[in-house]
């Protein structure tokens, strides 16, 4: 099929493009930097709406804690700009490039929000949804509209920006976003606990998260995964590694690390640089990526088997070890925990019944998304967790309220949505 790409360079043009698609009855594949090919349910559209032309930071007011940028602005432009003022996007957006064997730093702000991505700091700082304050964009009727606001505290009207986070471009082609920015921590340290099995590790993470010490990362890497870390102190353990991150002002980090060490009995403390590397690996699911990093030349990080399918499983933390155990029992799976046991990343050897086994293990304790798999697998399996009937019915009506003719990414998340 001939594929047309429309690349507007203004919001008004984006609206024209959607109106054109509507008049032609041609669905659009909504793309940021277009690293999305492997994402979600495969869809077939003759036309791509490439929003990477809508680029550039519109306003950055560090003291107001807000940044407004056009949706196609590369994260690679935004993150250094924030770093210069010692600020950050506190939800720690993931860069899944390495997982898909692509270069790092490819995503756009619109793509990050539309994909609802968040890293290890999800447990303390929230997700993309929690930091998206305002949006402008084109709905499936070709209307250019705005929602939310440009200040950190706003309850005027419905919180439309929240609905955009994790909607994968199915509700609105975003043209501009306003996000909350926060100070970047001055210092960062990581307590390392060696050799704990899953249940014991999650118990330790729970204790850390129940402490008043403001833990901002809580992950557990079983032995085979830990062995792939670029951080020597992690790989060299030769067994499972449990990680607890503490960030903030220098004296505070020192005091909290000392207190946690006392409570948890840590085997080592990673310094700032090692911490930055290991949490980036955890964040970006680097252990399951196909490409070894240049630094380790074939060893260490990466080296994951890219024929494995990668699942992202959100679960109530106390159930994490049990769910992991039943997945391992049913499938040939490698996995690790983030979010204090509440997030399981699983790399699963291809198997016909994998989706059923994983979702069966979860029951009602959470949800599972198939993040990496070849197209034919994603056609056959439900990529996103099936929703209970009443929620699905409501979701369909919400989709219709934005996009009654199914112009924007139809079927990307769910059939008919």
């Amino acid at each position: 099929m001939t594929v047309t790409t429309i690349k507007p360079d203004s919001a008004a043009q984006a609206a024209d493009a959607v109106r054109w698609a509507l008049s032609e009855g041609t669905p659009l594949d909504v793309a940021g930097s277009g690293s999305k090919r492997g994402l979600g349910r495969p869809i077939q559209t003759a036309c791509t709406l490439d929003l990477s032309g809508l680029s550039g930071v519109v306003a950055y007011e560090a003291e107001e804690l807000v940044l407004t940028a056009r949706a196609g602005t590369p994260m690679a432009e935004i993150l250094p700009m924030l770093a210069e003022r010692r600020q950050q996007l506190a939800f720690e957006p993931q860069d899944l490039g390495p997982l898909f064997g692509r270069p790092e730093g490819q995503g756009t702000l619109g793509g990050v929000v539309a994909s609802g991505l968040a890293g290890p700091r999800r447990i303390s700082a929230g997700s993309a949804r929690d930091h998206t304050l305002g949006i402008a964009g084109v709905n499936g009727r070709g209307d250019l509209y705005k929602g939310g606001g440009k200040v950190v505290k706003n309850v005027t009207g419905y919180d439309v920006p929240k609905l955009m986070a994790g909607s994968f471009g199915t509700l609105t082609a975003l043209t501009e976003l306003t996000v909350k920015v926060l100070p970047a921590p001055e210092d960062c340290r990581t307590l390392l606990l060696a050799g704990r099995e899953d249940a014991g590790a999650v118990a330790a993470l729970t204790a850390a998260l129940q402490s008043p010490y403001d833990v901002s990362g809580a992950a557990h890497l079983p032995a085979a995964v830990a062995a792939r870390s670029d951080v020597r102190a992690v790989a060299a353990v030769g067994g499972a590694v449990t990680l607890v991150r503490v960030e903030g002002f220098g004296p505070s980090v020192t005091a909290r690390v000392a207190a946690l060490k006392e409570e948890l009995g840590a085997d080592a403390v990673l310094d700032r640089d090692e911490s930055l590397v290991v949490w980036r690996e955890v964040r970006d699911v680097a252990y399951f990526g196909p490409t070894p990093s240049p630094a380790s030349a074939g060893e260490g990080r990466g080296g994951g088997d890219d024929s494995r399918h990668v699942w992202k499983i959100s679960v109530q933390p106390s159930e994490g070890p049990r769910v992991a155990e039943s997945i391992r029992w049913a499938l040939d799976a490698e996995l690790y925990f983030d979010w204090g046991g509440g997030l399981i990343w699983a790399a699963v050897a291809p198997a016909a019944d994998a989706a059923a086994a994983i979702r069966g293990a979860l029951g009602t304790a959470g949800h599972a998304t198939l993040v990496r798999a070849p197209e034919d697998v994603r056609i056959a399996a439900e990529v996103f967790h099936p929703l209970p009937d009443p929620v699905m019915a409501l979701s369909r009506r919400v989709k219709e309220s934005f996009d009654p003719c199914g112009i924007l990414n139809p079927g990307r998340m769910y059939a008919g949505v």
Binding site: T5, K7, P8, Q13, D16, R19, L22, S23, A62, E63, E64, V66, R86, R122, G126, R129, N139, D143, L144, Y145, K146, V151, V152, K153, N154, V155, T156, G157, D159, V160, L163, A165, G166, L171, T206, L209, Q210, P212, G248, F249, T254, A255, A259, S314, V315, Q316, P317, W339, A365, H367, F384, H385, L387, P390, V391, A393, L394, S395, R397, E400
Partner: protein, 495 residues
Amino acid sequence: MRMPAPDDGVIARRREIIAALRTIVPGEGVIADESELRAYECDGLTAYRQLPMVVVLPSTVEQVSRVLRTCKEMGVKVVPRGAGTSLSGGALPLADGVLLGMGKFNRILDIDFANRCVVTQPGVTNLGISNAVAHEGFYYAPDPSSQIACTIGGNIAENSGGVHCLKYGLTTNNVLGLEMVLMDGTILRLGGKHLDAGGYDLMGVVTGSEGLLGVVTEVTVRILKKPATARAVLIGFPTSEQGGDCVAAIIAAGIIPGGMEMMDRPAIHAAEDFVHAGYPLDVEALLIVELDGPAAEVDHLIEQVAEIARSKGCCYSRVSTSEEERLSFWAGRKAAFPAVGRISPDYYCMDGTIPRKALPLVLHRMQEMSGRYALRVANVFHAGDGNLHPLILYDANKPGELERAEAFGNDILRLCVEVGGVLTGEHGVGVEKRDLMTDQFDEVDLDQQQRIKCAFDPDGLLNPGKVFPKLHRCAELGRVHIHKGELRFPDIPRF
């Protein structure tokens, strides 16, 4: 402010409707007696009053579901109500509507320390949740000043916040799961004890939807461990500009305090006269900055904050040295509303957010307006996040003063929007700010929001007349006009 005209047809069927409701909620759960209905005629926005047609107090989710389904079938409007503390008239009853009181949903269902969450019914008070987990040193972070009275269901509907919210987020950032009932009686569960509900973030749009999308029947919130210590510093400035500069400099230094509140001279004086907190009376702006966390962090940061304050020209500064002293700093701020109530027969509390840098301009223009309307204004301000609470002082017994106070309030909110802010930072739109929505949003924006409403409640029976200035029929809003072939858009780059 006009409410939609009551439907005489519905009012004529009142007895039949009450009888149908009695088959669902027995005994005292249906209130039809006028003297008893009186208790529900308004919420915290007492300027507007209306007796409901009937009050229903269900005690199970099945009853809520059947009440809503029955009302839908009979074409009857429903207004949900928690504790009735809304300051924007969100729970104002309708003459032709059922008032659905959620007060009997008053049990905490599950306290789960391992997963750091609490599952509760919606009628439990905000403070009730913190109290239930206090024995293990936990608390629920969002802390509206009304926390001893307001319900968590009302907090969800209003996306309530408080002093803690700069650092710990609003209600929406602290909710993990909801059970809710749609107008057609459908019971839905969103999220749970895990993160990210899956699918669209319906929980995100329900939070802050002011009772227009569904009735919340169960809530899962996250709880946090109490910080090890908290200390506060009281800082006075000769001008409000300097106070504003100091706030900006604190944030620019990377410090996000647990709370950061500012008061202007009239508010300081009223509070000091009332509670004798020891506030300085010769300053134009008073800042309370609270730092919480491990002692080492708090000690380190309080020094930095004091240093920043000096560099911004503060003329008064006092650091709390005991828990008692810290609480006394807050006592004045927390009593600011009643304190202002003592110096004026009535006051009207506004709630808008501005970009903080616009503070000097906004305060200046407010002074001008104060002269023009011949009404005094006192200001308390959630300084960290730019949320203003101007208190307009008036006397309802003097003819015309209430109307002037309202007009003054509207002008302030329009000014907030004009400088890049929003109409409401925490109290909601309700009926109060409904007709100002067109100042912040254009018709296209509002139509899209109302289409979301249609997805949840296609007949528009849940809490109509609130939030949206114009009621549309969903069928009209849904039409798409396509002009096939007329649009070719030659200018858009194509590849």
